[in-house]
Symmetry: C3
Subunit: 284 residues, 3 copies
């Protein structure tokens, strides 16, 4: 368990503008800003260029979610500090010839983040201002509402990468897509265009800029202003309880599947080739 | 348990017209009329002006459902004897400074009614001839088919009232709405217009008058004329079995949640203010 | 258990054309052809005129599915060798005055076929080139993709025949239809036209000929060409695991329901009348 008792003792940073206060330290890979008027916390993934989910980013993300849950934020908007990629998913470097304990911690942290986001007490929304494959899509679909910028793609493309789709990702898809389409898209590793995603309901709205996306997310969260927050949060949990309970039962099995995948020699070879190609591209 | 062995011994009242017979006594808050030609039972909520669900109305409703199930009715249509409200849900007076045993009985009766309607052997339909918030929506969405008059609203708006949505209400919504919209509507306590409800499939058809609504419900029930009634009823139960089983497991927890809500001092204060405003309005 | 160890030892028949090899013996009621280029196996039901599912056809079907799973086929297309009926479902002759052990074996074989098709490792599709009532619809909706020729009908019409819809059929419908429509169609025993089925998503595409239907199915299976087959198959199983697990729990109960239905004297009388009418028609 990564839960830190120290966390709640950390002093909040001072406001950085009249309408928002930044709570994160400079060394973190996430930025949290809370709007003083609306009480909405914007959580930005900030690991350029593609917000690859390495252990540190995941741990910072987990901590930021806890901060937002424990302060009086009225809602959470997840977005990217980078302009072309919301998040490219798990950093391949973490998966190539990994230290067993570290990669195990990586996965359990990702599991914990899913539990925290999927079962979050506050209204949650994603301003998807870039591509969101694999883990990027996982984060966005754990939330209640999605606004996306045009000309990007989103999808759980695990099978394209040779990876079994984790059970919590299946829960996410069943929450946002008709069952028939969810299964097919997962089996194909389909990446939806913004337009497709909106048409199918997987994404709720399009925005032409990040600002507009954030504004629409804020409007969604504002739609709960007249609702009793305790009743709302218990209703949401009631709605998602069966999924959360089933995940707790299958948590170990889910970890085992990932560890088997990681330990597969053929998969390691493929990851090696992939990383070599990446560095060749970078060199050109 | 409220099941009365006496019930089945009660003599049926004589027919009140050539094509229907009324079975209820005058003191009841529900009216049951069975069409002699079609065998369809129309069950009218009759507690003017808004069919507030107090203990007596719920007990009468429960008894009427049992009558219909045990006689040879071919279907059940639920409607309101009043013209503007189908049912406004639980009578607030039952929840304000309640007698513990009485309010506990109120809730368990409501639970039993859900089980009876959701698992009813006969085809069921609602002619929604007025607003159907909260408990009114619960009754209508427990059935298989809904026809609604224009310019009314329907929805489980519990969170607007500070109340957690009971689990059986969630089952109802998942039966009539896509999962994504069901969750959002429950969290927001959204009240759908007739038009919205029809567009989303939550309500199946619109009718311009109560008579037309009843006729359309009768047509729906008539669509099963060529179907073996035992096979139909077992298929329906098979389809709804998982929900009914999960409810039985969570029945006590569901009661506990309601009792906690009722015992909350802040909630009692709000209910007091609400009732005061109501009587002021009435005085003007 | 019908699993035969001998099966894997059977030699494959020689190719019957440059691009396909036929693996079945002439006495079988199914034909399996594997396309040498694509690796796709086409499994044809071949019991004229209506592919009535008698014990032999079911056992041959079960064996053919196993062959396809155990050889290196890249996908399975199920179709009919006859031109007007995909499959009319269980052969009524098997259900009229049956030998208890034989009819029990018939049903458990049908159960095993559902498990094999629903949980098949390879991509699966149906080229529905004729009517598909009852068991015919069951087979088609166990698969991942459906293409249908116009002017035919498909549906689980068990309740019209006085039979409770088996739980695995309910799982199939929930996979291809919105829940509200699934329940209603099952209760009504509704037979969908090709057009209705396509509009609702129960069938994915229309084709004007059997060849076009097979081609579209092949294209669907081809859409997984770039996907890791192990990851795909585990993802599909993960997606369908809850249904498969629940079925295993209820397998005996499902058999009991069928045996009760079969042993019902009234039902036997109806089946007798039905078969008499059939032979009268045949005589005219």
């Amino acid at each position: 368990m990564l839960r830190s008792k120290v966390l709640s003792l950390l002093p909040r940073a001072l406001s950085i503008s009249s309408s928002s206060r930044q709570m994160s330290t400079a060394t973190k890979l996430t930025i949290v800003e809370v709007n003083d008027k609306t009480g909405i916390a914007t959580l930005s993934l900030n690991r350029p260029p593609i917000n690859g989910l390495n252990l540190q980013l995941l741990q910072d993300l987990q901590q930021s979610i806890k901060e937002i849950e424990s302060n009086k934020s009225t809602g959470l908007i997840l977005t990217s500090a980078n302009s072309k990629v919301f998040s490219a998913g798990i950093d391949i470097h973490e998966m190539y010839k990994p230290d067993k304990e570290r990669v195990r911690l990586l996965w359990t942290t990702l599991q914990d983040i899913w539990v925290a986001l999927y079962g979050s007490k506050v209204p949650t929304a994603a301003a998807i201002n870039g591509h969101a494959p694999a883990g990027g899509c996982l984060l966005a679909t754990s939330l209640e509402y999605r606004v996306m910028l045009p000309n990007f793609r989103i999808g759980l493309n695990e099978t394209q990468l040779g990876m079994t789709v984790p059970i919590f990702c299946i829960f996410n898809y069943l929450n946002v897509l008709p069952r028939r389409l969810a299964e097919r898209a997962l089996n194909q590793g389909h990446m939806f265009t913004t337009e497709e995603a909106v048409q199918l309901g997987m994404v709720d709205d399009v925005a032409q800029s990040k600002e507009e996306a954030l504004e629409k997310c804020a409007q969604f969260i504002g739609s709960f202003a007249k609702v009793n927050p305790v009743a709302r949060s218990l209703t949401k949990l009631q709605f998602r309880a069966a999924d959360l309970q089933r995940f707790e039962k299958e948590r170990q099995k889910d970890l085992d599947i990932f560890m088997t995948f990681i330990n597969d020699p053929q998969m390691q070879e493929q990851l090696g080739v992939y990383l070599q190609n990446l560095s060749k591209k970078a060199a050109n």
